[in-house]
Symmetry: C2
Subunit: 142 residues, 2 copies
DNA sequence: ATCTAATACTTAGAAGTCTAACCATTTACG
DNA sequence: CGTAAATGGTTAGACTTCTAAGTATTAGAT
């Protein structure tokens, strides 16, 4: 197995295992991953956030974000608010219940991050992040 | 943003971008990612491979693998073969068409790997893979 | 002012993923 | 040997994701 093979397998497998591990920690909150990722971005964004902007932040298609927001709205965690300056646009805001949930999500994600990454030197993490970000730039350059 | 935050975001985003980039390169082959990943593992495995074993290799649930194999079988790329030693078990084998497809998939994946990772020193890749594999081990240890 | 192009959100449908539950078969144990 | 537990594959349903196509609105050009 070449180093490239090994690297791409490690990337894929680690990302997947991370996601599944976090899913398990958040399962009892009753919100899916797509849900809490979206909630987190809404909470962290200052000012109005449109559905399309949220989809970009979460890196999914606009169509995907529609049903995610539908479910969150139905669960009473977010609201759609019509924009006053552009009638095509709807903003997404957290409800108080959504704020509470975000607090829990953040605490658990932080905890898991500490549990796992706390065993690795910060310089190594920084260097790995550098390389991964470099790869992102390479992927984005056709 | 802490280095841990930065790292976990980089992991998630890089893995996702890699996957989407590879998807784009393989799109015209008419087989999905789940399909060609499964085909690759079948091709690379010596001897009989059961559905459950394949699911483990691909890291999905057995139930997920059922429909993936259904679709590949329907496309004439794999066959289910009953096991002679255990009546519960079905083995999955590639058809000749499946073998041909695997050759194409491998060539393109290799090409993409070279295109992207060819710009990065192998020592850096090896070191990153080490760290990622270390993280996998940490995730697996509850 | 009018028309075309672009944008924002929505719907539909196929594929992919998981959990839970099920049936048939095999294994383990008393 | 008989029974309980474990295993392998399957089905059902909710969620997730994408592409394609559609409607309403806005931006830009003439």
């Amino acid at each position: 197995m070449s180093v490239e093979d090994r690297f791409s397998a490690a990337l894929h497998n680690t990302a997947r295992m991370w996601r599944l591990a976090l899913d398990r920690r958040l399962r009892d909150l009753g919100v899916s991953q797509a849900g809490w990722v979206s909630i987190a971005y809404i909470a962290k964004t200052q000012g109005p956030l449109s559905q399309g902007e949220l989809a970009n932040l979460v890196q999914v298609e606009a169509a995907t974000m529609v049903s995610t927001i539908d479910r969150l709205e139905k669960a009473g965690l977010v609201l759609r608010v019509a924009s006053e300056s552009d009638r095509r646009v709807k903003h997404v805001v957290l409800t108080p219940a959504g704020e509470v949930l975000y607090g829990k999500v953040r605490a658990r994600a932080d905890e898991m991050r500490r549990d796992i990454l706390g065993h690795i030197e910060p310089e190594k993490l920084a260097m790995t992040a550098d390389i991964l970000e470099n790869i992102q730039a390479l992927i984005e350059t056709p």
